[in-house]
Structure formats: structure tokens, C-alpha cells
Symmetry: C2
Amino acid sequence: MYPSIPPHIAHMKLKANLPQFFMADEIKLQILNEHALTMAQLDQSHNTELPAEVDNYHNLFPLEPPPANPLQKSNIFGYPTSCFKAVNVKDGMTYCLRRIHGFRLVNTKCMPLIDMWKKMYHPNIVQLKEVFTTKAYGDNSIVFVYDFFPASETLMSRHFSNMPAPVNGYSSPFNVSMNGGTPQPANNGLLPESLIWTYVVQLSSALRAIHATGLACRSLDPTKILIYGKSRLRINCVGISDVLNFDNSQGNPLALMPHYQQKDLYALGNIVLALACNSVMSLQRENLQNALDLVSRNYSPDLKNLILYLLTNPNRPRSINDVMPMIGARFFTQLDAAQLRGDVLQNELAKEVENGRLFRLICKFGAINERQDFSLDQAWSETGDRYILKLFRDYLFHQVDENGTPWLDMAHIIQCLNKVDAGVPEKVTLMSRDEQSVIIVSYAEIKRCFESSFSELLNSGHPQGYS
Amino acid sequence: MYPSIPPHIAHMKLKANLPQFFMADEIKLQILNEHALTMAQLDQSHNTELPAEVDNYHNLFPLEPPPANPLQKSNIFGYPTSCFKAVNVKDGMTYCLRRIHGFRLVNTKCMPLIDMWKKMYHPNIVQLKEVFTTKAYGDNSIVFVYDFFPASETLMSRHFSNMPAPVNGYSSPFNVSMNGGTPQPANNGLLPESLIWTYVVQLSSALRAIHATGLACRSLDPTKILIYGKSRLRINCVGISDVLNFDNSQGNPLALMPHYQQKDLYALGNIVLALACNSVMSLQRENLQNALDLVSRNYSPDLKNLILYLLTNPNRPRSINDVMPMIGARFFTQLDAAQLRGDVLQNELAKEVENGRLFRLICKFGAINERQDFSLDQAWSETGDRYILKLFRDYLFHQVDENGTPWLDMAHIIQCLNKVDAGVPEKVTLMSRDEQSVIIVSYAEIKRCFESSFSELLNSGHPQGYS
């Protein structure tokens, strides 16, 4: 129904003389871009191999380019996978579907783990919504449904995209990056330490929540971490390993989790080391000592100690809680940044909410002005209070300059509507179309005409959602 | 110009059948309430003793009730004070002005401290904007100008309002509390420990930033801490003590700050203890041991240790950095909450930003429909493309049911406008007013008519802020 990119984005720019009323350009473009990506649809006239519907989801749209070899297996999951956005027919919301190709679910004892994941709501985890098996793709597939984060990319594609490793998140060909992109590396080509700590804090927070429930992430990897905006992370693909690699030999599905939690912490160490070296090559065993030397030379002892704690001494039990003291006062920085982001957003929201009010107001005028007849009165919209409102409508929208040329001024419309809404005593001069009569009324009087006319309509009719 | 409470708030409620388009009620009401409080003006016909203008500020509006005794001095500052909001004539923004009555500034050596405060931008500090002396009140006064936070109250009024201590923040008589008010105390009448830690983290973050610059707060007190929403704090009135109690005996104005920083930490201890006992009485020397016993019985050892660290052993130098390990993993909770708040706000913003788009769209229709004449063509708005748009306007706004009764449906208007904006191929049946002819057009065709008509106006006229 919608074209893939709404046209109002393509040529959007803020006029210099607009009042401080609409949102700051950057946030607005980001939001509209996310909206556009959420709304994007395949042209059905093109031949695609995607089914029209899978379980309760329709309007499938691929989020990754097709693999060169359709049998190519995910390094992490050991099966071919693919990723789509799709609309749930029940709630109309867009979700991200990750399909595991050719997987037949035989053992449902893992399902209690899935139920635990579905209850996990955390700002640094992509929430798992549901899991279903399907033959809609022509094979046995299992599909994991997650919240959709438009305009995300993976930590892999953001920071390690020159590496030959496969990109299994939502990758860039289908996502326009509007977020300022990769931060500029410092002069030495390395990432700023503050950025690495931002990531450490977020990943630690997510792992802490996961481990506290008794679960483990099991697939912590740069390709399975989404990043959006400048530095916001979410752990992706939770629950998949719990199904695909379920070990039936244990009675309790949580029995092996402490082991996997240790693996999560080791994986966290690898990610931090790769970020500090700005290369996933650093993780190869023969490069490890060189990588640690690089960290020592360029970063604080805290960062090196964190990496050593997570990567060395494999037999020592680790806990995510031990990471906290190494983060130390950097928590304050993260918290301050998160609070400031909230304040900026609230400020923008305060500006935008006014638009909703003006929009409703102008719709009410629309319901009154030029209404053909009302209660068998053909001239209702031309007489009495409505005549004032008709002349005010002309004043609002049909301003001309001294040569009769249209004068289109958004600020004029906003100001006038605000004055009517506030019912101020200020006077306005309205002129009849034949220029033979002039009426001087206050905005308060226009407001009274407006309210009495609209309530006439309201009381007679079926109001739906005007308030 | 505006009445004190805009009427659109008074009777606002969300209709059940409105699409998920406008903001969640609660945030919206909070924002509109803050807007209303920012806009509130005194009725100039009432006799007030406020000057019409003070320095660059006008539209003064008191934020505190007048004191019973006009000579009553602030416990903290030692002078009578009063507090107003006012509009800066240069930038049109509303600020909070705190006037110190009867203070004559003789020594300007404290001004470097004021400059440092003006540069302090922190999410838990009310920013000082400027300081000026004035005779506009008929005496020598000094005025401290801060950012204005409408609908704030003080920590004192939120939690200790049954106490006889004076309330020197923005107090409730002039502020409608829309924020859910005081959290329910736990069963034993005490505040939940998590709330106290929320406060500790924020105050620590602010003190850490202040102390890091070499400054000290010097007036940390429940009456000088603003709270808004459920638990967001900002330290208020910074810089006042630095001017009022400036000690000229030291060459360097920062020389005594380490001493005042120690006092800040002691003041923080007092605040935490009072919160934990839910009473400022606990701070009286003879009650101290009882108060500490109460904390031991009801709260974690961490909270008691924090209080002991801050309040006992007066000769041991303390540092705000030592507070951090006692906060420990509670940082994660605070950070998660701040991130979630940002996500909710961004989500609401994404919904609201659509209103701005629809508002602009409908204003463009307004500029076309019923325009009296254009380029000497009296019938411009009635002919050609515009005739389609006229009939579409009727379809949009003037729906009636089978009895001819008005059918006012906001969702209908929004849907139709979205379809025009997207230019979808879906068809719509438009009927002439005499019901003699019926035109079936697609929304795409309406969009084409709309764009060509509007660009005719644009090209001839003076567009201001349409985009």
C-alpha cells in the first residue's frame, strides 16, 4: 500500500523561518527513516521466492542480501539462516523473523527456556516474542520472532566490516545509515576508550540480567549484537542456541547454564579485545600476546585488567558482577548520557505534542467550514457564527500581498490557531469577500463561535475521536 | 496573553477509538501541564507588587507563596529570598529567577566562581544562566537566573512536607502535581530502599561533577533539591553561597573549596539518613543513634555503611568517589531505567512526529480549498484539479450518516490524509454536492491534483515555512 520510501522524506529540509515548533532536523529524519524502513514493502510484481504469509506474519521483506551459496551455514548456529521483517496480522506491528533453514524440532523440552527468554525485557537485549515451526518455505524451518529495530546494524558491520567474517545481522544494503555512522577512530586508528566502555557497560548490564535468571546468552558475537544510533547496543538472537543445541542428556534444561555463562564471559572478553585492537584478527591464538601489548600501550590499565580477567585463567570461575568495579566511575558517564538523551527527547516531544493539538483544532474547523447543509439548513455554514468562521478561514489560509499574490505563511497559521485556542482578547480584522464589509472581532469571540458551532455538530452527530 | 491554564487540558481525555497515533495520556498530560505552567501569566489587572520588568526579564510570575513575614530569612542563605519565573526578552525562553533581598554586591572577586557554574551542564544540576544586581524591586537585590523546570517540587515538599521547616523551592500551591505524587511508603511507613538509591546515585553524580571542577555545592539541603516526575533530581541554587558567603581573606577563590566539599559529603549523609528515617527529625543530634538503629533494622548494610561513611569520623577526608563501590550493581538498575525512559520517549516522539506532517499537509489543503481567486481567475478553486480537491475536502470533513447527520471521525481524516500523502492506488468515490455526478479517483490522482495546485500557489506567491 505504501511506496518503499515516503516522498515527504526525500526532499525534507527545515525552512529557516519556521518557528521553533517542529523537531530538530536530525532526530526527525532518524525517526522518519526508521518509519520508512519499517513500512518498506516488496514490489509484489517482482518475482520473489518469499512466501506471502508465514504463520501469523505477512508482508515479508528481507533484511539481509541472499547468501552467495544458499547452503552456507551460520558460523554461530551451524545451519543456514535468513532474516526478514514482517507484519503480524493480529497486532499490525512489524517484527524481525529469523528463519533457521532445514531444522526439524523434535524435542520440545527446550521450550521452558524459550518461555524464560520471552519474559526477558531489557534495554540491551532484543526481545524474543515467539518461536514457531513452519513448512511455508518448502522445508522444515523454525522461526524466531524478535522486536524489529529499523536502521540497526551489527557490531560486526559497524566496526569490523573490512573483515571476511559473514554479516548475519541486518546488514547495510537494506538499511540507510542515518545515525552518523562509525565514530571517527582516534589518531592511531583505534577506537576511543570511552566508546569501548560504553559498549562494556551495556553488554555487562545485559549479561547480568540474563545470568541472574539462570540463562546464558550462548551466542555472544559481534555478528549477534545490534547497534543503532551512535552507540546503543542490544544483544540479538537470544534463545536460538537453546533450541538448536539443546542437550537432552540433562534432566533440567538449566543444568548446563553455569558452563555457558562462563563461555559468555569469555566471549565478552574476546569482543572487548577485538574492539580495543579494532580487529577481529586479534582473537587468533597466535596474535593474542601482541593484541594484549597493543591494549597496554593504548588504553588504561582498567581495560587491560578487564580483558585479562575475562580471557585468562580459564579454570577460575568468573562472574559478571566482578566486572563492575573495573567499570567504576565510568557508570556515572553512562548514566549522565542516558539521562541527557531522555531530556533531549522529552524536549522534542514537548514541541511536537503541540502539533497534535493544532492538527485536531484545524480538523474541527474543517468540519464546520463549507459544510453543505446541517439540520436541513442549506446556509448553516454561511450564516451566524459560521460566517465569522468562514471569514476567519479566509484570513488564516488565503492571505495575499498587495498585488493579490498568495502569501503562504506557516507561522501565521500557527500563531492564529494558538490565539484562537487560547481565546486571547487581541482583535483581528476580517473582511468580506466582496470587500464591502469589515468585521473586527477578538480571538476570544472567534473561539466562542467556533466552540458553539462545533458543539452543534457534536450534539447532532457521531463524534469519533475528536477531543 | 494566555489564560493561566489552557482549556484544552481541562477536559482532555483519549477517545477509545482513536488510532494509536497520539501520545500515551500520561506523558501528554505531563507535557501539556508543564507547558501550561511555563505559559502561566499574572492577570495584570490585579494589583501586584512585582515590577513589570527586571533587567532583561519580563512577565514575572511568583513560584512561591509570599512569606508570612517579609523579613523572614532563608535558613540556608541568611537573607530573605523570593522566586519567580520570567521570560527573557532576548530569547523568549522562560527562566527561574531567585532574588536575594537586600544584598549589595561589593566584591566581584567571586565572579570567576559564577563563570564556572555557568559552564556546568549536568543532568542532575539546575544550570545557572546568569547573575545580575538590580534596584527594580526598590532595594539592592541580586538575582540568580536558572533554567526553569515547571511542575517540579523540592525533595523537602515531596518527602518531608509535614515538617515545620520552610519550603524554599518551587512549592505546591503554584504547581499542579501531575507526576503521580509521593511514592507509596512501604508497609512500615518507610521509603523503598530502591528509591533512596535512585536519589543517592543522582546526587553522587552531581557532586562528583561539581567537585571534579574544584567547586563545592555549599547549600545541599532537601529544600535546595528539585524533584520532578517519579524520582528525577536536580541540585538547585548553585552559586548563591559562593556570592553571599564569599570569603575575601583567601587570594584564590577556590582555596576553601576542599573544606566545603567535605561539608557537601556530610550534607549528603544527612539527606540519606533523613530519607531512610523518612523524617528530618532524625538529624537532631540526640536522635542520631536511634536513627542509625532504624536504618540497620530496615535497610541493607550498604545503605547503613554509606551513611556511616558520610556522617562519622569527621576528621577523615572523604571523597565522592568512595561512595561508588557502595552503590555497586545498583548502577545497572539506574542505567537500565534511564535507557528505558529514553526508549519510551523516542517511541512517543515517533508517533507524534506524524502529527507535524499531517498538520502541514492539511494547511496546504487549506491554502487551496475555497481560495477566492488566483491569477485573476475567480473560479480557480472551483475548477479543474481544484474541483477534485474541493470534493475531496467534502469527503474528508463533511461525512454524514444515512440520515444526513454529521459523522465526525478523526481516524477517517488521518487515514485519508495518509493515503493522499503516500499516493496509493486505492480508489475513492467523490460525489458532487447536487449528488448528480460521481467521480471515482485514486488517492494517487488526488495527490497529483494537490501537488500541482499547491505548486501553482507556491510559484506565484511567497511561501513561508511550508515544506
